[in-house]
Amino acid sequence: MNTVLWIIFLPIIIFIIGTFMLGYSRKFIARIERRYGPPIQQVFYDIFKLMNKKTNISHGWMHDIAILMLLGGTLLTLYFIPVPGFHFFAQYGDMLVIMYILLIPALGMALGVGETANPNGSIGISRALMMLAGYDIPFFLTFIGMAMLNQTTSMYELINIQQAGGFFGWGLITNPLLGVAALIALQGMLGEKPFEVMVAPHEIATGPMTEMGGKYLGIMMIQHAIAVVVELTIYINLFLGGALNWFEYIIKLFVLFTVLLSVNAVFGRFRTDDAVRFMWKIPLPMAVIGVLFIIF
Amino acid sequence: MSGVISISLVLNVASSGLILLGLYIIFTQKNLIKIVIGLGLADTGVNVLLVSTGYIDGNTAPIFSNSALNISNMVDPVPQALVLTSIVIGFGVSALALALIIRLFEKTGTLDTSKIRGLKW
């Protein structure tokens, strides 16, 4: 019975956490730039406003389906990630499945933006995909390293193994190289500042979001909120020993997010090829050496 | 009659000398006519060799005109028969060669082998 309850309420809880985190991120960056920044619940207001817009411009049936794929895909990944107290679906799909499910929303958005027939959108998508090539290889290699070390690809078992070791069991501690490489890759995955090439407002008019307005933009912001939490949770489960109760989980989320935001706040944006070159020059060799350590 | 040098030795040396001379001409001379002459020389050399095979010292020609001579002191007649055909063949070939060279001369206007190189590679 409680699984059905979990299935209904989990997205809402994660949505609320996510939105608060986005609000917190705006406030945090504002503080660094010595201004007050909007209230924490500002993101709720934005989403509420966007959802009630009268005119929602759409460029074709694929544009609409893309938005559905976007949100639906993210919800799908949500269920497969073991969250404190609920890991019913984790047994049906392991880490490999999660890594691929993450790509469905990206593909959905790409198709929708392509449909809007706006070159800014297309440039944004091509940059997003190139960035994907950049960060995904090191991230996947760190996951392969962890999976080989513990001889399992299921995330739930990885958490249990790390929990058993206590603080020193954390992935970040047992093999720091993989942990740091994954952290840099995570920076790219979330699209934070040094690697924020796809939503570059100054260069390509917010890239994929140029033709998104009204409820389309609203749904995209909902999706962004959930996606941030999902990606952070993946890193936490792999390298920060997962979380047994919600309090520890939220603490870890906010601490990790602050680390990423602080990097985001102080760095300018890479050019796309420099971003990819950076990703292949720094985190990838680190991950390779980490895996070599595991093998020998 | 067998002086210091036996007849068959002389014949052998003569035939190989002739053959080598003939082949030497073919290898070096540029003029087609000279090459045909070289061929002729080589042919005669071979014929000499062929005849010398049948020669037995001190025997005479194998003709039964007077019954006094018996088989034992006669030269072996078989190679002589062979030489006959070989000479005829040699003659035929050189006649053909010269005819062809004349027609070639009509067409190319030169006898120099280095110039007649229409067909190569």
């Binding site: - | 053959i19 055909t85 060669a97 067909l119």
Partner: protein
Amino acid sequence: MVNPILLIIIPLGTAFLISTVAGSLKNSTKYLAFLALLANVWISISLLPQVLKHPVNVIIAGIKPPLGINLLVGPMGAIFSIIISVAGILVLLYSFKYIEGEGQSKYYTLFLLLITGSQGMILTGDIFNLFVFFEILAISSYILVGYAGDRNGFEAAVKYLILGSVGSVFILVAVALIYQETGTLNMADLAGKFASVASGKKMMIMLFFITGMGVEAAIFPLNSWLPDAHSSAPSSISAVLSGFVIEVALIVIIKFVYSIFAMTEILQYLSLVGVITLLVGEFAAFNQGNIKRVLAYSSIGQIGLILFAMTLNSEAGLSAGMMQVVNHTASKSILFLVAGYMIKMTGSYQFTDYKGIAKKMPVSSFLFVLGVLSLIGVPPFLGFFSKLNIIIAALAVGNTFNTVMVFLILLGTIIESVYFLKILQIFYIGDPIKGGVKEAPFTAVFPIAIFAVVILLGFLVLPEINIYAGSAAAELFTKIQITQVF
């Protein structure tokens, strides 16, 4: 039982008959030649079953060997005389329309002389007689090469003549030395006596003979005349030359090496020379423009392959070589005969000018394709089975030398299939060429079609071919039969 001597007398007689009646019969001399060859074909085929039991020995003019000349017809001789007469009659049929003009009776006389020479070389049991038939064959092919009457024809004929005569000088020296040592000219008698000859002398004799006959058999360093002669001769003649004349010379070498000289050490050297000949032939043909020169070089390649197969010192190798000879005669004749009409129609020797000719000459291009496929050795054709048997025979010995040779042969096949494919692509792809190009006449296409039938349906008759080729190989390999001739 028909006396095999007829195989030589009929063509010789008709040749002289034609030259005498040439004045009155004018253009119908060719039918006389056709009848002669028809008789030849019938005799050689009727000879085959009889020969399988034991070789036929024919004494000429009543004088028993070793003094008299005799014909010794073993299975190898019989098969070869069939090849010569069948290929001869088909090419003759082809040249009915191909050779026009008033001088054609000379052509047919020479053609018959050529057939006589090759039949004679195969059947004779006496080495000097072999030399005489060799000269008949050589002289008639010199003239026939120059028959076209153009600058290239005469140049090729002169070159062929001079090199051929140098070769015949070497052969005659060998014959003389043989007579000097063993005192006999009869092959069977010689086989017995040759072992007793001093090894130094034996080597000299073999050396002279192989170099001399090698010139006519187109082995690598000695075959410089072949590309010029085969490419500037009229196509029917190049078909005959590539078809069986060079194979006849090769078979004589093989017969001498196996049964008379019995020097098996030289076999490995000869197979090496064979592979070198193959590679030289294939590489030289690779970027040739003139279609007949390509086919000439490919003949050199195929001769190399046959030489390699036959000098494997095993019965399987010999029989595979025999099959390859049949395949090469048939497919190479197709290629030359088709090329003949293509040149006649388009007026150019360069195959790059035959773009899209398949649309104008569909039947002959299709036959050309069959010829190419069989030459390369594509499965349903005869060429595949002979090549497969050659490689089986080569690898059966299993030493590294043969494995390396097999790889080189296959490299040659790859190059051969590439340059033939380029030609086929030019034929079939591209817009058809302008000008009055139309299909070759029926009398030309008919013989080519029969050759095609030989290679296409060869595999139906495979078991029989195996028996005959096997018995021919046995005859050469086991030298006993040849000695009990008296």
